[in-house]
Every structure is written in structure tokens, then in C-alpha cells.
């Protein structure tokens, strides 16, 4: 009898169980690794495909294979012969302006609802909850007519779009309110006792502590318009120069255009995705904080 076997025979039940646990843990960890690798592959395949197909030169329509037979930058070059640069600047302007203004509005709203106790606070929050149950798209029908009368649609869609994006953004206060709720109120009170006005409390005490939520708000406010389809579709109303990238690229996949512009769509998609992905990855930490902190408190 070998020494090892002897050891196993003499091992106490607890030790035996420990060995068994170790084996199962190793086994289950391997299974989990396999699963995670599979998930990663599934999650990455579409993005890998879109990247590869954007370099395909031999044909512009949909094909059943992924790896191009001929590589080249033709699709990217062709992009700049279309309205794509215009759409890109439209989207970028709208997203940038919206990010700034929406952040200010959302922070005003959430800070107030988190910090102040006034008579209409509860009714106001309930009212906005009910308001949020209406499909937002419904309002676009009238907003389109009104903006059209003001001359802010079609070719001039960008200012109109910005107006639509920021106007109701106060309703999205939930996440940042959840964050402000976690900052101890005693800080405010101490400052108030020392004679600071409410405004000074906000400027000198709360804002410096709120960096994560400010960044989170800016990030989401930027990404919203960057990928918006519905509102942009209404307001540009078929006028190419007023479109954003989503509406423009969507049209390339129409039945009559897809054969000529499928690979161009891929190239455009890559160009649209890169900046926002880089931005997101850099600020990922704050996004995760916002989502985990705010979403659950509702």
C-alpha cells in the first residue's frame, strides 16, 4: 500500500470532505471558465463581424461569410462622399450640447428633490411618475408640428432636436437623486449653521462630493442623443441634411439601398461606435457606480 493511499484511508471524515470540495470547486470553476469564454465569444462576434465586414472590398451587399476576400479602406473613403460627415457633425453637436444642458437640469432637479422638503415635493414626484407612464413618443406628433412652425425641423433639425432632448430631461432624476440621498445631511446642516446660503452649500459642499454622479449624468446624457433614432427620425422628416447618424444609417439598410450600402453601413457603424465606446470604457467606473447605486433605489 502506498503512502498516499494510507493517508487517505486514515483521513478524518472532515478532511475527506475537504478534498472532495476542492475537487468539485476545481471542476465547477472549469465549467464557469468555459461558460465565460463562450459568453465572451458570443458577445464579441457581432462586433468582430461588423469590423471585418467594414473592410470588405469585393462586394457591397450582404454575404454569408465573415472574412473579406479583399481588404481595403474603400468603404471608409466612400463614406465621405455621402452625407455621412454631415450626419456625424449633427449628432456630435446635438450630443455635446445636450450632455451639458441636460446634466445641469437633471442635477438641479435631483438635488432639489433629494435635499429640500417643501409642500409640493411628494405630489410633484408622484405626478412625474404618472407622467412617465405615457409613451413619450406620443408627444412627438405635436412637438414636430410646433417645431416646424418655428422652423426648427428638417434641415435645421439640430437645434430642434436639442430642445426636445433637454426639455423633459428633468423627469430622469431618479438615479442622481438616489446618489444625493446617500450624502449625509449633517454636512449641509453644519454649513447652514455656519451661515452658508443654500446655494453656497450646493457649490462648496455637495458638488465637490458628487463627481461620480456628475460624470455618470454627462455620460448618459451624451450617449442618449448619440444613439437616438425616434426623435431624430420625426424631426429630420426625411431631409438628409438634418439627420443624425442613426436615421441616416438606418436608411442604408432599406430594401432598395442595402445592396449598395451594406458594407458602408458597417464602416459608418464602426466610426460611430469608436468614440463613444472609448469614452464609455474610460468612464466605465462611474457608470457602474451610477447604475448599481441609483437604479435599485428607484
Amino acid at each position: 500500500m502506498s503512502e498516499k493511499k494510507l493517508l487517505e484511508q486514515n483521513a478524518s471524515p472532515i478532511q475527506k470532505r475537504h478534498m472532495g470540495l476542492k475537487a468539485t470547486r476545481a471542476l465547477s470553476n472549469t465549467a464557469i471558465y468555459a461558460l465565460l469564454v463562450a459568453i465572451s465569444v458570443i458577445w464579441l462576434i457581432p462586433f468582430a463581424c461588423i469590423l471585418l465586414q467594414s473592410f470588405r472590398v469585393e462586394s457591397t451587399w450582404q454575404v454569408g461569410y465573415v472574412i473579406p476576400q479583399q481588404w481595403g479602406f474603400d468603404n471608409y473613403v466612400n463614406l465621405f462622399k455621402t452625407d455621412f460627415p454631415r450626419w456625424y457633425t449633427n449628432t456630435f453637436t446635438a450630443a455635446l450640447v445636450t450632455a451639458v444642458l441636460q446634466t445641469i437640469i437633471v442635477l438641479c432637479m435631483s438635488y432639489t428633490l433629494s435635499r429640500f422638503r417643501f409642500k409640493l415635493r411628494k405630489p410633484l414626484m408622484r405626478f412625474m411618475l404618472i407622467l412617465g407612464m405615457f409613451p413619450g413618443m406620443l408627444t412627438m406628433i405635436i412637438l414636430y408640428r410646433v417645431l416646424k412652425d418655428l422652423g426648427l425641423t428638417q434641415a435645421n433639425a439640430v437645434p430642434g432636436l436639442i430642445l426636445v432632448y433637454i426639455a423633459s430631461s428633468g423627469m430622469g432624476y431618479y438615479v442622481s437623486k438616489g446618489f444625493f440621498d446617500t450624502i449625509p445631511k449633517s454636512l449641509d446642516e453644519a454649513a447652514r449653521v455656519d451661515g452658508a446660503t443654500r446655494f453656497q452649500v450646493l457649490k462648496k459642499i455637495i458638488l465637490p462630493l458628487s463627481k461620480p454622479i456628475v460624470i455618470y449624468t454627462i455620460l448618459t446624457a451624451f450617449m442618449g442623443p448619440w444613439g437616438d433614432y425616434v426623435f431624430a427620425q420625426y424631426i429630420s422628416f426625411g431631409t438628409s441634411s438634418g439627420m443624425n447618424v442613426a436615421v441616416g444609417l438606418y436608411r442604408w439598410l432599406n430594401k432598395d439601398q442595402i445592396a449598395a450600402s451594406y458594407t458602408m453601413f458597417c464602416a459608418g457603424g464602426v466610426l460611430v461606435a469608436i468614440p463613444v465606446t472609448v469614452l464609455f470604457m474610460c468612464l466605465q467606473k462611474y457608470y457602474v457606480e451610477g447604475v448599481t447605486g441609483g437604479a435599485v433605489k428607484g
Partner: protein, 514 residues
């Protein structure tokens, strides 16, 4: 039905407990409805009392007030100015002047036109000089409705301001009588950044919400009672006018198939779309919830390395705009797309799979792709909560010999459901209105031929929200139907939220038992 005491309840078996809960829920419904009516009656009483008290207060203010107060009833802000609060008084006065000017110049006209929404549509006139007919545009129903609503808002605002003006006079008299000083304009300005700071902060967001959300919603609710569509746009083609409850009757009528040889009644189409919407919301919410939790637990498990890498890979789908990823994935599953191409080249299938052509295939594919979109979000959300579960709970469970599945069902799941209950509700209603996933993936396809001629084209994967969008597109643009659908969406969402909110506390109570 027999009511159990707490002790008796605890003795029941699991099935009996569930049965008991379900029956007691349904037995409580009549009671709840009765309660609703009582609450409604109380609300009416309360409203009546408020109005009565206000009227009495206004009357006593007038009778007991000095002459400055009495003049203020007509000339707003007069009392403020006479007592030295120039800034406030001027603002009141300015508001009154603007209001009266507006009502005389425009508001009166819009209000008077509101009941008819315009009398004269566009007419053809003959031009003698050019010897040709040209169109003259007259009334504008759209503007009448819009400005009519705005005018009503304005009147309500004015009445409220007038009331504030009266109350301020009363207060000012009281303060002066007690020998104190009134606030000066400088004090007012200071209080804007101090004790009235909340009003300053809220003014901008609330104005936006009022103009761009409340007003349009009121407008669209009203549109549901008109015949506003592409052929009656209220100015260029024809005027539109009030039609009462007709649109609701059309939408909710099972028998009549209106609108030129349609195969199915509107109600049947609506019912089909609604049931798929609910089905979709259910699957989309819960598949994502459980699979997302599962992935989060897998990544969090002790001994798993490269946690950050796995998370980053998943988070990529959040970063990349949905219209790119979803549109691309939708094309991947097309008949001549990569997925079919791959499966065929491997020799696993001989014919392309009908991912988007067959109703059932399309519905399942949509739910599966939604998992791809949704898991990363849920993974992020649940990771944070999972880490908050006290580790000693698991430790003691392990010592008692619980296997991982038992640990999951007895510790993890109850805890998660407890914390994420409200989130599940919002994500359910959010999924009901998940325009992006459906519209960008399928656009509602495959088309439902039976429903196709009733209110636009309806497909098997259309949600109410995408249907609504499609109704408003194109030349027909039946805006009135879109508003009806929108209102019905609101009703459904509100009902679900109401029921769930009432059930949620019971879930919490159960938590206390365990």
C-alpha cells in the same frame, strides 16, 4: 372564504399557502374597488372643502382688509407697491397686464374657436389677374387646439397668481399689525438662493416639463377625441373636429371591421398586439433578470480570475449604440445573413432558417437577442447587490449542509427579489415600451396579414409602442388612433403598476416571516 390567523397560516403547506394568497387576493378585489370609490368620494369632499375654505378666506380678506387690500383685488400687486414691496408688486402688475392684453388680443379668439376647432377650411379662390385658382388657408384647427389648451393653462395660472396676490395682502397686513417689517426686494432676491432656493432650482426643469411633456400629453389626449389625421391636418387639407368617443369605440369594438375591407376588427388586432406586448415584457424582463444574475454570480465566484476582463467584454454592448448593434444583428439573422451562411456551410441545415419570416421564430429570436442586449445591464446591477449579501449567511448555510442550489433559493433569490422588486416593475413597464429593440431588429415584421388593413401595417412582433409609431408614419397618419393607443398603453401600464405596488408590500411581509 376562511381567514387564517398568522399561526394557522404558518402551518399550511407551500401549495396551500400559495392558494390561500391567491384566493385572498381575488376575494379582496371587491373590497378594494369599494375602497377606491370611498377614496374617490373623500377626494371630492376634500376638494369641495378646499374650495369652500378658499372662498371664505378670500371673502374675509376682502371684508376685513384695508383699502390697499381691496384695490389689490382688482389691480394685482397694488397692495405690495403701496406697502413698499415694489419688486413683488411690479411683477404682479406686469403679469396682470400681460394676461389681460393676451386675452383681449388672442386668447379670447382661441377660446371661442375651441368648441368647433375652426369653421372655414381651405378654400379655392379665383385670381382674375393671373386667371388661375389658388388656395386660401383660413382657420387652423391645430393651432386652435394648441393655443386653446395653452390659454386654459394660462387662465389657471392667472387665477392661482391672483389668489397668491390676495393671500400676500392678508399676510402683509398681519405682519405690519404685529409691528414687524416686510421683506424688501433685496430680501426676496436673497431668498431665491437661500430659503426659496428649491423654487429657483426647479423653475427651469419644471418649465421644460410643463411645455414639452405636460402640454403635449394634454393635447394628445384631446386629439383622441378628434379626427386629426393625414387627410384632416387642420390647415392644409381639411379642418379636423371633435368626434367624441368615436375613436375609442372603433378601437375597442369587436364586431365592426371599419376602414375598407379589413379582415379583422381593431379590437382583435389591439388584443393580439397587447397580448404579445405583455408576453414580450414578461420574457424580456425575467430571462434577463435570471440570466444576468447567473452571469454576475459566475463572475463573482471565488477563485475566478480576470473578473475585470469578463465584465468589460459584456459592457461593450452597453457602450456601442443600440442602433448599430441591433441593426447589424438583425441583418446577421437575415435569410442571406452570416448566421444562416455559417450554419449552411457547416452542413447543419440545408435551407435558411426563417428567423424573421416565421412569426414564432421571429418572436423567439427577438427575445434571445434581447438577452444579448440585457444581460450586461443586469450583470452590473446585480453585482453590486450580490456583494452586499452578508457573507456569514452563506457560511452558516454551508455549515448546516446546504448545497449551492439551496443556498441560491433560500438566501440569494429572496434577498435579490426583496431589493430589486421596484426595479423589476420599472423594467417590466420599460420593456413594454421598448421601442428600440423591436423596431431596429424586426420593424414589427413578419406582417400579420389578417390585421394589415386595420390601422397601418401590424406585424407579429409589433409592440403597442411600435404600432403607435407606425400609425403616425406615412400619408394616412391616423394621429387620433395613435393617441387612442397611447392612452390605452398608459392605462395598461398604470394598472400593472398599481397592482404590483399593492402586492409588493406583501412580498416584503413574507420576507419578515423567513
Amino acid at each position: 372564504m376562511k381567514k387564517y390567523s398568522d399561526l394557522e397560516y404558518l402551518k399550511l403547506s407551500k401549495g396551500q399557502k400559495l392558494l390561500y394568497k391567491i384566493t385572498s387576493f381575488f376575494c379582496a378585489i371587491p373590497q378594494k374597488i369599494a375602497g377606491l370609490f370611498v377614496a374617490l368620494w373623500n377626494l371630492i369632499l376634500k376638494g369641495y372643502n378646499i374650495v369652500k375654505n378658499e372662498a371664505v378666506d378670500i371673502w374675509t380678506t376682502f371684508v376685513q382688509g384695508d383699502w390697499k387690500t381691496k384695490v389689490s383685488f382688482l389691480v394685482m400687486g397694488f397692495g405690495n407697491i403701496a406697502r413698499g414691496q415694489i419688486l413683488r408688486g411690479l411683477l404682479f402688475l406686469l403679469f396682470e397686464v400681460v394676461f389681460i392684453g393676451y386675452m383681449i388680443l388672442a386668447g379670447g379668439y382661441w377660446l371661442s374657436m375651441l368648441p368647433s376647432l375652426g369653421k372655414v377650411g381651405p378654400t379655392e379662390e379665383y385670381d382674375f389677374v393671373l386667371d388661375a385658382y389658388y388656395t386660401v388657408y383660413n382657420d387652423n384647427s391645430f393651432k386652435i387646439l394648441l393655443y386653446g389648451v395653452l390659454t386654459i393653462f394660462f387662465i389657471i395660472g392667472f387665477v392661482y397668481t391672483w389668489r397668491v396676490n390676495v393671500r400676500q395682502n392678508k399676510l402683509a397686513e398681519k405682519i405690519l399689525k404685529s409691528g414687524k417689517k416686510l421683506k424688501s426686494g433685496k430680501d426676496d432676491l436673497r431668498s431665491m438662493v437661500d430659503d426659496k432656493f428649491h423654487a429657483t432650482l426647479l423653475s427651469l426643469p419644471l418649465t421644460g416639463i410643463l411645455i414639452f411633456t405636460v402640454m403635449p400629453i394634454v393635447f394628445m389626449i384631446l386629439v383622441a377625441f378628434t379626427n386629426y389625421d393625414g387627410a384632416h391636418d387642420g390647415y392644409y387639407s381639411n379642418l379636423f373636429t371633435w368626434v367624441g368617443w368615436d375613436n375609442f369605440n372603433t378601437m375597442l369594438n369587436w364586431n365592426v371591421a371599419k376602414g375598407g375591407g379589413s379582415v379583422q376588427s381593431y379590437a382583435a388586432t389591439f388584443g393580439e398586439v397587447l397580448s404579445w406586448t405583455l408576453m414580450w415584457a414578461f420574457f424580456a424582463t425575467f430571462t434577463n433578470y435570471f440570466l444576468g444574475m447567473f452571469v454576475a454570480m459566475a463572475i463573482n465566484k471565488k477563485g475566478i480570475k480576470l473578473k475585470k476582463l469578463w465584465r468589460t467584454v459584456l459592457v461593450l454592448t452597453i457602450a456601442i449604440p443600440q442602433f448599430i448593434s441591433l441593426l447589424y444583428v438583425s441583418k446577421m439573422f437575415a435569410k442571406n445573413g452570416i448566421v444562416n451562411g455559417f450554419l449552411m456551410s457547416m452542413g447543419w441545415i440545408s435551407e435558411a432558417l426563417p428567423f424573421w419570416e416565421d412569426p414564432t421564430w421571429a418572436r423567439i429570436t427577438v427575445i434571445l437577442i434581447n438577452i444579448w442586449i440585457g444581460i450586461p445591464h443586469l450583470m452590473l446591477i446585480t453585482t453590486g447587490i450580490l456583494m452586499n449579501i452578508p457573507a456569514d449567511l452563506y457560511e452558516s448555510a454551508r455549515i448546516d449542509g446546504a448545497n449551492p442550489w439551496q443556498q441560491y433559493t433560500k438566501i440569494t433569490l429572496p434577498y435579490m427579489l426583496f431589493v430589486t422588486g421596484p426595479y423589476l416593475l420599472t423594467s417590466f413597464t420599460g420593456n413594454m415600451n421598448n421601442f428600440n429593440v423591436i423596431y431596429l431588429l424586426t420593424g414589427g415584421a413578419p406582417t400579420n396579414p389578417a390585421a394589415s388593413s386595420a390601422a397601418g401595417t401590424v406585424g407579429y412582433t409589433d409592440l403597442l409602442i411600435t404600432w403607435l409609431f407606425k400609425i403616425t408614419q406615412g400619408a394616412e397618419s391616423q394621429y387620433y388612433l395613435a393617441s387612442v393607443v397611447g392612452i390605452l398603453v398608459f392605462v395598461v401600464v398604470a394598472l400593472i403598476s398599481l397592482v404590483v405596488y399593492n402586492v409588493l408590500p406583501s412580498i416584503k411581509n413574507e420576507e419578515d416571516f423567513q
